[in-house]
């Protein structure tokens, strides 16, 4: 328990440090958020600029802005977006739901598919099927995601006309959502699977050389049993780490995929916030990402302890 308490304390301290960096980083970027808000062709007087600064709290000294930011944070108030004219929490929740839908599913499918196929390929690496799948996944992992997404879109949406080319849906119905998200989810799943495949394959190749695998075989256990009852548990440790990382950065979205498929997700939201110097939105988004990354790492630590008895054993 004290080990867990220490970890929680460590994570909390990390979170506080992140909150400080979160506040500072956007303000270190060059550019004036007021000028970004006004636009290039609009002329407004200095008096009006000052009034806007006052309204947005940007005329206060940094220390006061920070105190206000911390106080809002403690009240779970992430502020108000300069450009989108809505509470940041509301905007993030809306975008997170959609991002979770297609990125989350992709991460899960990618992990399962990549892990499963990687285990099989690692178990029998010399087989033709294993070589072919390894080759395919290596190729996929080397292709830039933007290119693969465009190629998929071109082929399946425009050439074959099987899927739509943009948006989360055409009408807000489950069928339309599934239809629209099928392609982007596939692309992301394949990418995620390619990485997980390679890691899992290497991990299984390593593990199957261990003595316990030989002992299991000597006992008369069949291949499936050895692989899925013994080896995969040990070989999946790196996958758990990767999964934790993926989940941690789930809400950072997938910018390239969102651009290609014109999806209104977290990736584009963050990108626009950076370009527009929308401090509250940036702070809110980074905080959410940091929080989920920390949470995911914490869960990964716990999972490791569950799966690997060596971690549980006292030093």
């Amino acid at each position: 328990m004290s080990g867990i308490a220490r970890k929680v304390t460590r994570y909390f301290a990390s979170f506080m440090l992140i909150a400080v960096i979160n506040f500072t980083l956007p303000r270190l970027m060059p550019g004036d958020p007021i000028k970004n808000l006004i636009g290039e062709d609009v002329y407004i007087s200095e008096k009006m600029m000052e009034e806007l600064r006052l309204e947005l709290g940007l005329n206060m000294p940094l220390s006061e802005q920070f105190a206000s930011y911390l106080s809002d944070l403690l009240h779970l108030d992430l502020g108000h977006s300069y450009h989108l004219h809505a509470p940041v929490a509301e905007i993030l929740l809306n975008k997170m739901e959609w991002t979770l839908l297609f990125v989350g599913i992709s991460v899960v499918i990618g992990s399962l598919l990549g892990g499963f196929l990687g285990a099989l390929a690692g178990w029998k690496p010399k087989k033709k099927v294993s070589r072919l799948t390894s080759f395919a996944f290596v190729v996929i992992s080397c292709i830039p995601p933007y290119f693969l997404a465009l190629l998929t879109l071109y082929l399946f949406a425009f050439k074959l006309g099987l899927f739509p080319s943009k948006g989360f849906y055409d009408t807000p119905e489950i069928g339309s959502v599934l239809h629209h998200l099928f392609l982007p989810t596939c692309v992301m799943s394949v990418f995620s699977a390619s990485r997980n495949f390679l890691v899992m394959r290497g991990s299984v190749i390593q593990e199957k050389e261990q003595l316990y695998a030989l002992y299991a075989r000597a006992k008369g256990l069949h291949d499936t049993g050895i692989l899925f009852r013994h080896i995969i548990k040990n070989a999946s440790l790196p996958i758990i780490t990767l999964l934790a990382l993926d989940f941690g950065f789930l809400f950072s979205g997938a910018l390239f995929i969102e651009i290609v498929f014109s999806l209104n997700g977290m990736g584009l939201l963050i990108y626009d916030a950076i370009m527009g110097k929308d401090y509250p939105l940036l702070q809110g988004a980074f905080l959410v990402i940091a929080f989920t990354a920390l949470l995911a790492n914490m869960l990964a630590d716990l999972l490791y302890a569950l799966i690997d008895p060596r971690v549980r054993r006292p030093a």
Partner: protein, 600 residues
């Protein structure tokens, strides 16, 4: 054991194969069946938010039958966008069940970020269709009435009276009144930062029901009111007067409008806006029952959508369809192109506050050093022309045909020599009047990288050493505002050319600051010219001043225009009746009431 292992291996192989095949089949089936006969959309007024996903419980077997029919009988069972097969889907095929006529679909890269009618700038452009401004610009760049039948201005330019057309109705049946105009203008002045000048200068406003007019009295002469009123969308007072914080008012629609269409739905997740015919519109009836604006984050995908017929045309405010994509569309044979010279342009701005750029002869030499034809060929792919010394493009009102800019490195070198810039130490680089080598720093944003490289080459050819400094937009603004640059490449937008005293003066007047302006000309002659323009509304006087201004640009070269470009709009050959104006391109009421589908 061996046999068992062999059998086990086989089972694994066969079993695995069966499972994977089944999984793929189910996935394929589901992805094709479910959307094939989706039920109609809920009434948008009842939709709480864009997250309101409703699964249609009825019609699943209809969908299954539809799918099977499509698979085996060869009937087209495509997505809900292109056709309807089952009865359940019939009601769903158009976004609004009660609209008639064709759907005009427009692709745009100018995505709406927020459903804030007043707050989102791109939405403000698109809602010209549903909430047109009082004034508009015609194809020749003249300001004419749109909702205003006519207008007049007092001699001292402080009182502006607009006479409203008599046959305008809001989409909820209410008549558009002069009170709506008064309300809208005051509302923008009070609630939006970019219209704060109204709040500062509007002394009073009076409405006259007798002649359907509204008069605005300003506390000082203001000659550009008609131009400004070409950008403020009219709002129904009876709706918006109850909304306290309009910038933060978010709604997916419908919004009450008085144009030929009203804004029915803003759907950010589907990436589109839907406009429906205004049932109370008394003007020329548009043919299309619905106009849909589809946002594409990627222009390549928008091009594919155009080629595929998913959309009928492309629109970008203050921008052209990418020149590199034109050939692709031409090859299909399905597209025609509307070409109009843009009133915005790309130009080389010089830091007139420091030597040698403050020397007119040096500027002249720089102007001769630039290969304009090459720039036109490489930057516009032929959809442009060499600019004139007078800066102002030909599409602008009161354009004067000044001399074309000439590329002549020999003349450039000659001018430099005559002006006292020579290479006395023989290192190939000319020295300034201070005796030091002239090293030019060309500040550029990443979108002008190629132009910057070309300029670098041109200047080196005439003995000027130069280097490129690339900065992001914000850093560029900071450096530009602190005059921490030698030369920079910048683009003027159509509105930018019209602002201040028009004809691009807003970019140079040193008394005026803003995001993208240079504010680098302090010459009293120029400033007086700007003041003279701002002091009159007389068309004849404006004509003379415009010519004077262009002569000033031609003589002094405060900036060197690099090329004039064309705004190219592709449209499906099945449509005709497009109308383009210098300010908003094809996105104007004349287009929407005239464009119709024809036999190609």
């Amino acid at each position: 054991m061996k046999q068992r292992k062999y059998f086990t291996g086989l089972e694994l192989k066969a079993g695995l194969k069966r499972q994977m095949a089944l999984a793929m089949l189910i996935l394929t089936l589901c992805s094709n069946i479910l959307p094939a006969g989706a039920a109609g959309p809920e009434d948008s007024e009842n939709n709480d938010s864009e997250n309101n996903l409703t699964l249609s419980k009825e019609g699943f077997f209809d969908r299954l039958i539809t799918y099977i029919k499509g698979l085996y009988l060869g009937e087209e069972g495509e997505t809900q966008d292109s056709g309807v097969i089952s009865e359940a889907a019939a009601a769903d095929v158009q976004q609004s069940a009660d609209s008639e006529g064709a759907v005009l679909k427009i692709a745009t890269p100018s995505a709406i970020k927020s459903a804030s009618f007043i707050g989102d700038s791109n939405l403000g452009v698109f809602t010209h269709l549903s909430n047109p401004p009082l004034m508009k610009m015609d194809a020749e760049g003249h300001l004419v009435g749109q909702l205003a039948e006519s207008y007049n201005v007092s001699e001292n330019n402080t009182c502006w009276t607009f006479y409203l057309k008599d046959d305008l109705y809001w989409s909820d049946g209410e008549k558009v009144s002069p009170e709506d105009i008064e309300f809208s203008i005051r509302y923008y002045g009070k609630e939006t930062p970019w219209a704060s000048w109204i709040n500062d200068t509007l002394e009073s406003s009076t409405v006259s029901d007798a002649d359907n007019s509204v008069t605005f009295k300003f506390n000082k002469p203001y000659t550009r009111v008609n131009m400004e009123f070409a950008t403020y969308n009219l709002l129904p007072a009876h709706v918006w007067e109850t909304i306290e914080n309009p910038l933060e008012y978010i709604s997916n629609g419908p919004y009450v409008g008085c144009g030929p269409y009203y804004l029915k739905l803003i759907d950010l997740n589907a990436g589109k806006l839907i406009f429906e015919k205004n049932p109370y519109w008394k003007g020329k009836a548009p043919v299309s029952g619905t106009v849909e604006i589809h946002f594409y984050s990627n222009v390549d995908v928008a091009t594919l959508a155009l080629k595929n017929g998913d959309v009928d045309t492309y629109y970008k405010y203050a921008g052209s369809y990418p020149y590199s994509g034109i050939e692709q569309l031409e090859k299909t044979g399905d597209f025609d192109f509307l070409e109009k010279t843009d009133i915005g342009l790309v130009f080389l701005a010089l830091n007139l506050k420091k030597a040698p750029f403050s020397d007119p002869e040096f500027r002249e030499a720089l102007a001769y050093a630039i290969n304009y034809k090459e720039l036109v060929r490489l930057e516009t792919l032929g959809y442009g022309e060499v600019p004139n010394r007078g800066f102002v493009p030909s599409a602008m009102e009161n354009f004067k045909e000044t001399e074309k800019l000439e590329y002549s490195p020999e003349k450039a070198k000659e001018n430099l020599e005559k002006a006292g810039y020579s290479d006395s130490n023989g290192n190939g680089i000319l020295e300034g009047k201070d005796g030091k080598d002239i090293k030019l720093e060309i500040l550029i944003r990443s979108e002008y990288a190629r132009t910057g490289e070309l300029l670098d080459e041109y200047f080196e050819q005439i003995g000027l050493s130069s280097e490129l400094k690339t900065a992001d937009a914000d850093t560029w603004i900071t450096l530009k505002d602190s005059y921490d640059y030698d030369l920079t490449v910048i683009r003027s937008t159509p509105w930018g050319m019209l602002m201040h005293a028009s004809w691009g003066s807003g970019y140079f007047d040193s008394r005026r600051t803003g995001q993208g302006v240079m504010h680098n000309v302090e010459d009293p002659e120029f400033l007086q010219l700007c003041d003279d323009i701002l002091a009159t509304t007389d068309p004849a006087e404006l004509h003379d001043y415009a010519y004077e201004l262009q002569d000033y640009y031609a003589e002094n070269l405060p900036a060197v225009p690099l090329y004039w470009s064309k705004s190219v709009t592709p449209f499906n050959r099945h449509f005709e009746g497009w109308y383009s104006d210098p300010l908003y391109g094809i996105y104007n009421l004349d287009t929407f009431v005239n464009v119709r589908e024809v036999e190609a």
